[in-house]
């Protein structure tokens, strides 16, 4: 019996070739950033940025990638699948999307009716693990990627992660990933968001002011980067329907999570604030109407009575809620709380939250405590 088993195992060995065809690291083209554009003819253009192997070894003989550390490749096709096929060819190595840091789509594509189908196609691309940040950019995504540079001489992947962590902690951008967009497109909760990206106008000015939109940010700041990220792209049913500027994005963030530190202008002064706790949201059903009570707790670094600041923050948040109601978009995460008022998903879907949100009674209360 033992001999038979050993013989059987030996016979199986030649068949265990699964690992033989996996690629060596040198044979992989690791895309760090991918851009998706719509061509004038209705096709799809894909642009990727990949690191060049051998770059970075100072003066290393025969380094393959002397010069530019990253390579930008673009390939087009009639649809996403064909463009991806062409990109595989253009990469000349095994295209690997597992380390994708950033997915950028042009505004023209994100506002198109066929974008939801494209989201699903992108999400089901093999080995694209959807952890990438998701950006909607002004102009062509391909051009946006070509202008993206590293600031501190570090790797592009760590540079992007550090930048987004910093921006999200201060409330400049929503903390959205492509997975959030994908899940929200397939499910029945709140609407997804994306980061808003735009090229720097190149004008020179003073220090950054937090409560501002990107045009005044450009006018008042000078940065080393020619690509900026500030604000939010709003989606309804998988289609981009509007934007929030920097200040509005801060209000959105205050309603969805903790913000580490931010400045807010009220009573003629800038208040240095931070979230004490995540916001508390309660939903109550009042007949067919939903009442949402939101309580935002903040801590101020400044001395003095914060009553004026409390009213100003509450007013700003309410304005953002009203703007989203007008756009029939609910990116605040209220849906999950409201869904708790229903027994089953069918009841919840029948209620049609997206259509009912504009009628919802949203009340915002802001409490600011002064730090000791």
């Amino acid at each position: 019996m033992r001999r038979v088993l050993v013989l059987m195992l030996l016979m199986i060995i030649p068949a265990l070739t699964g690992c033989a065809v996996t690629g060596e690291v040198e044979n992989q083209a690791y895309a760090l950033v991918m851009g998706v554009d719509k061509t004038p003819a209705g096709g799809i253009d894909l642009t990727i940025r990949i690191p060049r192997i051998g770059h970075g070894d100072s003066g290393g003989e025969g380094a393959v990638g002397k010069g530019e550390p990253y390579l930008v490749l673009t390939a087009g096709g009639d649809d996403y699948a064909q463009a991806m096929e062409h990109l595989q060819w253009a990469a000349a190595r095994e295209l690997n999307l597992s380390h994708l840091n950033l997915l950028i789509v042009s505004e023209a594509l994100a506002t198109g009716a066929d974008f939801p189908a494209l989201i699903r196609e992108i999400a089901t691309t093999r080995h694209l693990y959807a952890t990438a940040g998701f950006v909607v950019c002004e102009g062509r995504a391909g051009d946006f990627i070509e202008g993206q540079e590293t600031l501190l001489g570090s790797h592009l992947s760590s540079d992007i992660s550090a930048m987004f962590r910093h921006y999200a902690a201060h409330g400049f951008i929503p903390g959205s990933t492509f997975a959030d967009l994908y899940y929200a497109t397939l499910s029945c909760y709140s609407d997804p968001t994306g980061l808003w990206g735009f090229p720097d106008s190149g004008e020179q000015a003073a220090a950054a002011v937090i409560e501002t939109d990107e045009s005044s940010l450009n006018a008042q700041t000078r940065t080393a980067s020619s690509r900026q990220y500030l604000g939010t792209a709003l989606f309804r049913d998988g289609v981009c329907v509007g934007r929030l500027d920097g200040a509005e994005t801060l209000c959105l963030n205050l309603l969805t999570r903790r913000v580490d530190a931010f400045g807010f202008e009220a009573d003629g002064r800038v208040w240095a604030l931070s979230s004490a706790l995540p916001p508390r949201v309660r939903a109550r059903r009042d007949g067919d109407k939903m009442r949402i009570d939101v309580s935002v707790s903040l801590v101020s670094e400044n001395p003095g009575d914060p009553a004026g600041a409390e009213a100003a923050v509450a007013r700003a948040i309410t304005q953002v809620v009203d703007k989203c109601k007008a756009l029939r978009v609910e990116p605040f995460g209220f849906a999950a709380k409201a869904a708790a008022r229903f027994a089953t998903l069918d009841d919840w879907l029948q209620y049609d939250w997206r259509a009912r949100f504009p009628e919802a009674d949203v009340r915002v209360a802001v409490h600011i405590a002064t730090a000791e």
Binding site: T177, A184, A336, A343, T344, L345
Partner: protein, 335 residues
């Protein structure tokens, strides 16, 4: 006998295998309960208890007869598990490799496991349950900031009908694996020990199903496929990518244990059905059944998919019939 195992080994194996079966079944095989999968696991426990009690009280001749429906169920379920494991390998890394080549290493592992015997499997299960707990602790701690409890709402998910359908599926797996654990044990295992295994497995699986639901919302779109489910299960896109490693180790370790337990139990039950046949031949027969069903991909056949929801009904009906025909007894089982 080499294929049988001690009470404690059977108990540990039951916990390791059933936890994996419930989790993989409720997250991948059936989406009937939507975001109330954890509730279906609890309902499955409640539904399965009378059947498991009945099985544990059957007289020895009746128990021997019960081995036949259990064997059929085990062979089919082990083939399903092999196919699903190969499919998840394909989704993760080996999409360019034919499914049969992904199944062969798994079948080789089963062969080796059966050769080592039931007690070795039980020992491995004891180690695995501890390792699994450590892996899940790492995953849960790192994912803590990303869990969204709101995605468990509405509480009753797809509604009573959906929860009941998923609960019946879960009850089928409970009855199959608890019955097999009783069948593979060389001593009397007793209902109380089986109950403990069912309770632990259900509690862990229900918790894991709920946590998985808090990482990815219930999909209400019709465009959701098995690939989407497995892709969002192993790499949900919201947690850091490095968590893939512990999650994948936990997933494949659990699946490997499940398929080995089911296959070894199939061999042991074959031996019970054919007491005059040598153990080696019974092992060959049991494994041949599992291998043939897996390699022929019977688990993906339309008829199998249609029959799968009736596992609970079939096993309960078999146990009840045997009780009525051959009678039950109240053995003084050590528990």
């Amino acid at each position: 006998m080499r294929l049988e195992m001690s009470r404690s080994a059977a108990s540990a194996s039951l916990i390791a295998a059933l936890t994996s079966r419930l989790f993989y079944g409720l997250t991948l095989e059936t989406a009937d309960a939507a975001n109330a999968g954890w509730m279906a696991a609890l309902l499955g426990l409640a539904l399965s208890l009378p059947s498991v009690w009945l099985m544990s009280r059957l007289r020895p001749p009746a128990r021997r007869a019960l081995a036949l429906p259990l064997l059929v169920g085990l062979a089919l379920d082990a083939a399903c598990t092999v196919e699903c494991t190969a499919y998840s390998e394909s989704c993760l890394a080996f999409n360019h490799v034919a499914p049969v080549f992904l199944m062969l290493p798994l079948l080789a592992a089963i062969l080796r496991c059966a050769w080592l015997g039931g007690d070795a499997l039980g020992g491995a299960a004891r180690i695995w349950t501890r390792l699994f707990a450590a892996l899940m602790l790492i995953v849960i701690l790192y994912q803590l900031p990303y869990y969204n409890a709101g995605w468990l709402m509405p509480w009753f998910g797809a509604g009573g009908g959906g929860i009941l359908r998923a609960g019946v599926r879960a009850a089928g797996w409970n009855v199959l694996l608890a019955g097999s654990a009783a069948g593979i044990c060389r001593e009397e295992i007793g209902f109380r020990r089986l109950l403990r295994g069912l309770l632990v497995s259900t509690a862990v699986a229900a918790g894991l199903v709920a946590l998985r639901q808090m990482m990815a919302p219930a999909f209400t779109s019709e465009a959701v496929t098995r690939f989407t489910r497995i892709d969002t299960l192993l790499t949900n896109g919201r947690a850091p990518l490095y968590l893939q490693l512990p999650m994948i180790v936990a997933w494949f370790g659990g699946m490997l244990h499940l398929m080995c337990f089911e296959s070894v139990a199939a061999c042991a039950l074959t031996r019970k059905l054919l007491p005059n046949v040598k153990e080696g031949a019974c092992m060959a027969l049991g494994l041949a059944a599992v291998f043939a069903l897996a390699l022929l991909r019977v688990s993906r056949a339309v008829a199998t998919l249609k029959l799968a929801p009736y596992l609970y009904h079939a096993l309960t009906a078999a146990a009840l019939t045997l009780w009525l025909v051959k009678g039950g007894e109240a053995p003084c089982a050590a528990s």
